[in-house]
């Protein structure tokens, strides 16, 4: 039952990623063809564009949501692959603990960076 719930969250996170990462990839890698959210300079990673996006609350929220969804989706997928190899109960507990702690730590780090970048951009 718990795994079915986690699997459902995995699929839902995938849908969220498809939308938000699709937008991110369009902004960053289809910038010449589509050209959105890069007001300062033609290249999306130029500091002026980074600041322009970081000033918008939409990007702060979408980055944090994408961060959480992608970490859960990716780490749960990795957990599935590892568990299919038939580890023992102790190894499963260790994998669960490692991936959960790693995922929470990366989420906290990434969310803090997004918030700090947004705060910095609003002061410039």
């Amino acid at each position: 039952m718990r795994d079915q719930a986690l699997w459902t969250w995995h699929v839902l996170a995938g849908v969220v990623i498809a939308v938000l990462l699709g937008l991110h990839m369009t902004i960053m890698h289809l910038d010449v063809l589509v050209g959105i959210f890069n007001p300062a300079d033609p290249h999306p990673i130029e500091w002026g564009n980074v600041v322009a996006r970081a000033r918008q609350g939409f990007f702060l929220v979408s980055y944090v949501v994408l961060l959480g969804a992608a970490l859960f989706h990716g780490l749960y997928g990795l957990r599935n692959i590892l568990f299919e190899l038939g580890p023992g109960a102790g190894a499963k507990r260790a994998v669960n603990a490692l991936l959960t702690a790693g995922g929470v730590a990366m989420f906290a780090f990434g969310a803090l960076a997004a918030w700090a970048a947004s705060t910095l951009a609003r002061t410039l």
Partner: protein, 145 residues
């Protein structure tokens, strides 16, 4: 899913290599996993590298300078290709899991028909879309910039 109902996964990772009677979709499954692992590895590094934007323009430009050059551009394009495949194939998997594009249930009368064949057009369609997206990305990466 996770439970194996007591049957050991004897093939392990080697089982990813052979499609057997599953056909082309089995190789899409293998590619889905490989691209997923690649995207996860890239994403974890991406979180660390892009966090430098919180430290100001000098830190950001130094971080971007460390990941520039033709090798990194080629690597980023591979990430884009993995994203295009994994995302569109993932949408196919969600549609199939919801029971769409696999045909209606039928009586199991010989010669049996398999739903794998029923959903083949969807698999072909998403691969064509992935190919178009990769083409557009390739133009942006290597021609228009």
């Amino acid at each position: 899913m996770l439970e194996t109902n007591g049957h050991p996964n004897r093939l392990g990772l080697v089982g990813w290599l052979g499609g057997g009677r599953w056909g082309a979709e089995r190789y899409l499954y293998t590619l889905h996993r490989l691209t997923g692992l690649g995207l996860l590895a890239y994403f974890l590094l991406h979180i660390v590298v892009t966090s430098s934007r919180a430290l100001g323009p000098a830190a950001w430009q130094a971080a971007m300078g460390r990941v520039s050059g033709p090798i990194f551009v080629a690597g980023e394009f591979l990430v884009f290709v993995a994203f295009a495949f994994h995302g569109l194939n993932g949408i196919r998997l969600v549609l199939v899991e919801l029971g769409w594009a696999i045909g209606k249930p039928i009586e199991p009368v010989y010669p049996y028909r398999t739903s794998v064949d029923e959903q083949r057009p969807l698999a072909i369609a998403v691969m064509v879309l992935a190919g178009l997206l990769v083409f557009a990305g390739g133009l942006d990466f290597f021609v228009l910039h």
